[in-house]
Symmetry: C2
Subunit: 215 residues, 2 copies
Amino acid sequence: MTRVRLDLFLSLDGYAATAEPTPDSPMGKDWERLTAAYAATRTFRELVFGDTSGAGTTGIDDRYARASFEGIGSEIMGAAMFGLHSFPDDPDWKGWWGDRPPFHTPVYVLTHTAPRPSIPMEGGTTFHFRNAASKEVLAEAGEAAGGNDVRVGGGIGTARDFLLAGLVDQLHVMIAPIILGRGTRLWDDLDGLELTHTVTSEVAESGTIHVNFTR
Amino acid sequence: MTRVRLDLFLSLDGYAATAEPTPDSPMGKDWERLTAAYAATRTFRELVFGDTSGAGTTGIDDRYARASFEGIGSEIMGAAMFGLHSFPDDPDWKGWWGDRPPFHTPVYVLTHTAPRPSIPMEGGTTFHFRNAASKEVLAEAGEAAGGNDVRVGGGIGTARDFLLAGLVDQLHVMIAPIILGRGTRLWDDLDGLELTHTVTSEVAESGTIHVNFTR
């Protein structure tokens, strides 16, 4: 059965980073602090940066990083996550994920702008652009997943849309033990999520608190 | 060295319960949900309810409960935590902690009302009422602690006053894995607390996430 999965980075005070991406600092300083433990994992270094030297952490953070890439058949992300707004006038801009994005599946980019042609990339990723309701795009992504899972890749606005619509089967939150004091609040209007999902938590060697909501 | 310690109950979305106490339901429904795992511990049942049968949980939650009672020489709490507002016109009202409160130390109750006489209770607890700044009361409580620690007993408003003033050496937060969606937000204006304190976390058998800020 195709499940909808979501992995998020959060501060202890419940904030996700929301800085607009640029090619230099894709998500800003807060994002770097929230994702430091994840970016240090062997899986991230290998699958996102192509570092096959075996460097990187191999503990609990890495186990979750590994799992987040497994069994994914398609992906949905917001326009900012793709980088659509960074160079709005450049028709050749292919997002900030590089020539060989780490998805290797169809990726559905949600956008309110005019339709644009799909972009096939190296390694099996194809970016499709959809101006449609979350549920409709999810139906298409589910079909494309071919029995594997659909990953909602963020950003936080897209993630919250899917959560508030009750569309997420597995939410994995990586809570960095820092008080950020700013950003977008994840949990607003999600009270009672523990009534529809089972919650388990685990603390990694890095201090990251992994919280899982599963139904 | 006398340290200032603080134990708090929090929801995953960062809310502490704030219901006004009444003799029947001292802190309200949300409070019951936030404190369920703690109230189930053997230590709580023994030290607060006087249940010496040995019933109650004995895992990680109990270890923290036990530690929170150890080495305390005096306590500071807000007026609501004592129950000062419940029967403002009854000069014989001694708070809702029972004839034998579980403190067994001097307890300094912060109040903006007129001074009232101290109340000695069974078991070594004496309630003192102080209309003074946090720092002044802390100095007196520290003196009274005789080399042991001072515990700030809450409620959340008093706790935040001490945290914002930088007076807390050890903050222990018991995070229930529930999204409450209402209450008083603990973390506001405390960003960067991880820079002055070391953070460690641990997940109990109950699912409670214990987060410790220590300096």
